[in-house]
């Protein structure tokens, strides 16, 4: 089985302490995982997760306190939604969502910690290294930084419980639909942006991304309207486009 790289983000109060307890009690688990401490699982940003995959992780593990036990009251509820968003983006990028796992592990669950990490490591080993293209992950990462998805990831709880500012409460189903559409739109746009580092026509884009030309065209129009791309030249009556400017590091809009 292939050796895999795992990163864990653990909240200081429960899961990180649980990991420490596993250590103190000498409950062994495979060494693939490297744990990074955060104060609360709510701190974990979808962009951070996607970046971790982009930089070579084969699996990412998020550990928080049990629901209701978060040291900061509600952080883990937000974490849940953010991880959900990250999973949608992973899916868009063709990464198996099993590679991202969220678990609630308390400070006293050392043995359980070791057991879960062992299980997770085995699972990822079975999946092997991530096979997606770098560009796909990069697009997902950029999408995670997009304000629209950030708003949705944070506000999902509120929209489900209290409704939007017009008082419309979303059903789970409506919410899922909204998220799916939004994630797809943003993800595709980011991918086009990345592809347009060199000039391409709608047709070329469509075949490179295995999308329908009219779908690509819709995104192109959108990107143009936001002045993110421009027409590079018109070849045989077909325009090709080029990205205007990718922000520093090429990651964020």
């Amino acid at each position: 089985m292939a050796e895999v790289n795992l990163i864990g983000f653990m909240c200081n109060w429960c899961s990180y302490a649980g990991a420490d307890l596993a250590g103190v009690s000498r409950f062994h688990y495979p060494p693939n995982i490297k744990i990074i401490r955060v104060m609360c699982s709510g701190r974990v940003d979808p962009e951070l997760i996607l970046d971790t995959f982009l930089y070579g992780a084969d699996g990412v593990f998020i550990g928080g306190c049990h629901l209701g036990d978060c040291h900061y009251l509600e952080g883990n509820y937000y974490a849940e939604k953010k991880i959900e968003m990250a999973k949608r983006l992973l899916e868009a990028a063709g990464v198996d969502t099993e590679r991202l796992r969220l678990e609630w592990i308390s400070a006293s669950e050392g043995e359980r910690f070791a057991a879960i990490i062992t299980e997770f490591t085995e699972e990822i080993k079975a999946l092997g290294p991530v096979k997606s293209e770098r560009e796909e992950l990069e697009s997902a990462c950029m999408a995670a930084a997009d304000y629209r998805l950030r708003i949705l990831a944070t506000k999902e709880r509120e929209l489900l419980e209290g409704g939007n500012k017009y008082g419309e409460v979303f059903t789970m189903h409506e919410m899922a639909k909204l998220l799916d559409d939004m994630v797809q739109e943003v993800y595709e746009s980011k991918r086009i942006l990345l592809k347009l580092k060199k000039p391409m026509s709608v047709k070329e884009l469509a075949s490179a991304m295995t999308l329908k030309p009219n779908e690509v065209f819709r995104r192109i129009l959108d990107l143009k309207r936001h002045e993110l791309i421009e027409i590079h030249e018109i070849r045989d009556n077909t325009p090709t486009y080029l990205v205007r400017a990718l922000n520093e590091g090429g990651l964020t809009e």
Binding site: A17, K34, I36, M39, C40, A107
Partner: protein
Amino acid sequence: MKIGVYICHCGTNIAATVDVEAVAKFAETLPDVAVSRAYVYMCSDPGQELIKADILDAKLDRVVVASCSPRMHEITFRSACEEAGLNAYCLEMANIREQCSWVHSDREKGTEKAKELVASAVAKAALLESLEPMRVGVTPSALIIGGGIAGIQCALDIADAGFQVYLVEKEPSVGGHMAQLDKTFPTLDCSACVLTPKMVDVARHDKIELITYATVDSVEGYVGSFKVKVKKTPRYVDEDKCTGCGECAIVCPVKEVVPNEFDLGLSKRGAVYIPFPQAIPMVYTIDKMGGIPPCRLGCPANVNVQGYVALIAQGRYREAIDLIREVNPLPAICGYVCPHPCENECNRVEIDDPIAIGALKRFAADNIDYEDETDAETEEEDNETEDATDVERAEKIAIIGSGPAGLTAAFYLAKCGYHVRILEKLPVPGGMLAVGIPEYRLPKDILKKEVEYIKREGGRIEIDTGVEIDKDGFERLKIDYKAIFVSIGADKSRAFGIEGEGLKGVVHGVEFLRELNLGNTVVPGKKVAVVGGGDVAIDAARCALRLGSDVTLVYRRSREEMPARDEEIADAEAEGVKITFLTNPSRFIGDGFVQGMECVKMELGEQDGSGRRRPVPVAGSEYIQDVDTVILAVGQQSALEFLEGSGIELEGNRIKADGDGRTNIECVFAAGDAVTGPATVVDAIAGGRRAAEAIDRYLRGEPLPELEREEKKRIVLEDIKARLPELEKDERREVAKIPAERRRDSFEVVELGFIEADAIEEAKRCMTCGICADCRLCETACEADAISQDMEEEFVQLEVGAIIAATGYDSFDPSLEPNYGYEYDEVITSMEFERLCNASGPTNGHIEINGETPKEVVFISCVGSREKYKGQTGTGEMAGNAYCSRVCCMYIAKQAHLVREHISDANATVFYTDVRAFGKGFEEFYWRVKEEGVNYIRRELTDDLKVDKDGDGQLRVKTVSGGRQVEKEADLVVLATGIVPKEDVRETARKLKITQSGDKFFLEAHPKLRPVDTLTNGIFIAGCCQSPKDIPDTVAQASATASRACSILSKEYVEVEPITAEVDETLCCGCGICESVCPYGAIEVIETEEGRRARVTGVKCHGCGTCGSSCIKKAVKMHQFTDEQLIAQERAALATEKVVS
């Protein structure tokens, strides 16, 4: 940028699995690393010196220590940095012990992982920033939750150190479990004797505020400055006024009903109580179920049924009657004739039968002397109604009709000071009570004494009989009187409207009864037919029967629809009244005198407006019945002719009045049957009393309070079961009746009423649904004026610098493990044994079970403890805990000793597995007990044990010892139950935001080095809420906890980690999403010159970072965990080449 990296061997803890030197070498290759060293113990002084020297010599900007968990030594290394002049927050740690060397065994891979962790830490370190800790002022006071010995000790220590202490205890008294113990091991000193002085000290200490019967509702804030909301359960007694004299408990009729929590249910207490004689504060508590008993809700007049039944149970009949009279001045009459709707509601119905409330009321009324009323009552009433009775009011009120509504209104109006004149058209007062109800149901002298009472006690009542009011008379009344109350009842028969109704011998039921009751000669014929199915029909039939007639009752529907009470119908039939159902007369036949009645058979058709099925005649079913008298009882109406032209609004044949008796004319009120149509006596009483109140308010010009519309909470059986678990079937005592034969020619009262013994037993069947009966006798009895029945839940806000949880433990519940036979009376828990031994316990210190002194006492150790290692068969999952109770070995020794001390000829046997006599004097005590002759029998934990009774009823303990089956007969088995976390431990943990360990007790910050701290700064733990322990250990720990708390309280301010969020206002768009996710209100969007911007209030921020991961512009910087730092950390951890095996 110069980074120093220090790799710790931690002896061999790390070095055994990680090639420390290799890691140090590797670190040298990382960007910005100027120094990289490995050392055997980084946390040791020389280790720290190493870092300090490098900071100074090599001018390090950042330090990375790869060693144990930062949760262990971050503080140590931060101080080291600081001492060398480097900002404490320029330190980063790589956890290569707990999260690497201790959890992996492959040295090569461990080394690789350590390298990655170090690389990761170095990457983060390069991005760390200097931060300044925030200072928070300290409120020099502490909150202690739990008033057991741990809480008491903490409170005294902290208060003695000069700080204010708030001690919050859930129960009415402090003392906790220690107060329940009899003696303590190994010294055998009396638990209460050592504890009570401390309890008194707590109460007296001027720095301690005791808040008992209260719980912590919520906790906000942080070390140095917590804001705590405490919820005080109403005890209905003002703690400041109560002197503990106990007068309330003496007058309280609810006695020995509630299982006494303090005696673990082995004794019972009343509704007002102190938990135990030495309780602190020495203040009574009233126990209320919350809600209204259903009987009271079922009574139209809202009579406090539970209250008077409880008083009857105590043999206090006069007080019972007085209580009734607060809302109903006719208790005796109601005792005889009320159809007691209360009984239908009684919660006991669900167990066996309702309490015989009606019969009890009659019994009480029959058993007091009505003549002797005045003195008895003065005492009671004096305080309360002083102003009411003694104030004479000038207004005069006229009442038309002296039935129950009129008498009731007159009574309460007179009590308010009004002069009342009742005008009655009949020659006797009482209305239907006098002329409607036959003597065999309500004897005349009962009515008489009750009318007399009303006149005498009301004082200002005049009853003019034989006065008929006509139209003019009514108008005159309006002039002469300030208010008129119309309670004329419904005494006019409705006409039947068929042929022959005018024949002689066809009479109306109400008239027939009236003549009879007035003593006029009434001679019905030989063959009497009564038509109708209501009370009047039954009464008329039974009277006619008694006058010697042969009586047939004809009713047009079936028995189910009959409006008369089932009991009455049955009695009538028993006496010989024949009933023909589904039959209606169609005409009366005769020549001057009635001779026959043509009847037609009916069948039930569609439902009509009343929800009953409408009877329809069956064509061709006519037949003729031979009769010489017909009594028609098919409904009554009111004689309202005198109101014609008065302008009073009518509704059909009734006066239109609201629930308070107000008619459309201001000064005219009405209630009773004239408003409701024919109804019960108690309905009329209820109407009369409400009208009296309305009249009083009207005359005083006060508005009437809105009718109470909000549904009152009804107490249901479930509520009671939760409080009084031992509800058993107990059959209802029925009253005797005179034999049916004797009733045929006599107007003697049919029901004989209770004899005293039965009455008291019957009254004791009452489950006291409300616990407190709300009779308010305690209010009168309390000289200190401390009772406050309307007390409500109260919240107290506290500000404290530190919090100590000393919430204690629960005993393991052995009923969870059936093999211990806890369902037998002779099997008890060790705590119950303590109470049995105790002089102030339920048996006054005699060890006895069901009155018998046991001779063979068997103790079983480790019940509910060490269970992971037991192999009980047949019980499935063990309900108990893995850990050792830490106390049962020694308390068994103590209790075995006490058995021998209390019962000199008793044998004590102990089934044990190990004896852990580790404390001071413990081993010596154990041997002393053994030498006293206590028989210790060893068994393996894995051996089955069963306590049960065989066919012969003998209790036996069966187990294995030394590989052989043993059986031990026992008279008493004491289960040495273990210590389990308090039921609400999780809730408390959540409120305080502290953590629990796997066994559910509160988790200490470090098992060795910070045993009384929690992971939450400023919150500490003491006593058994942390783990099982005995009294000496608890007290020692409590003192330790107190001193830890003082270390905060003694400071002017504490430093709080600057791990907070900060908003980069040049990036912020003011969307406010961060504000919406912050649980502490630490971020606010404010208007700045640049527009709307979010801003963080540092001290409010707890540092979770949720705002950071939510910000759409990534404008939030979460110090010490910034986006850049986390990304660098993650990328670096992934950057190193993998060794593929």
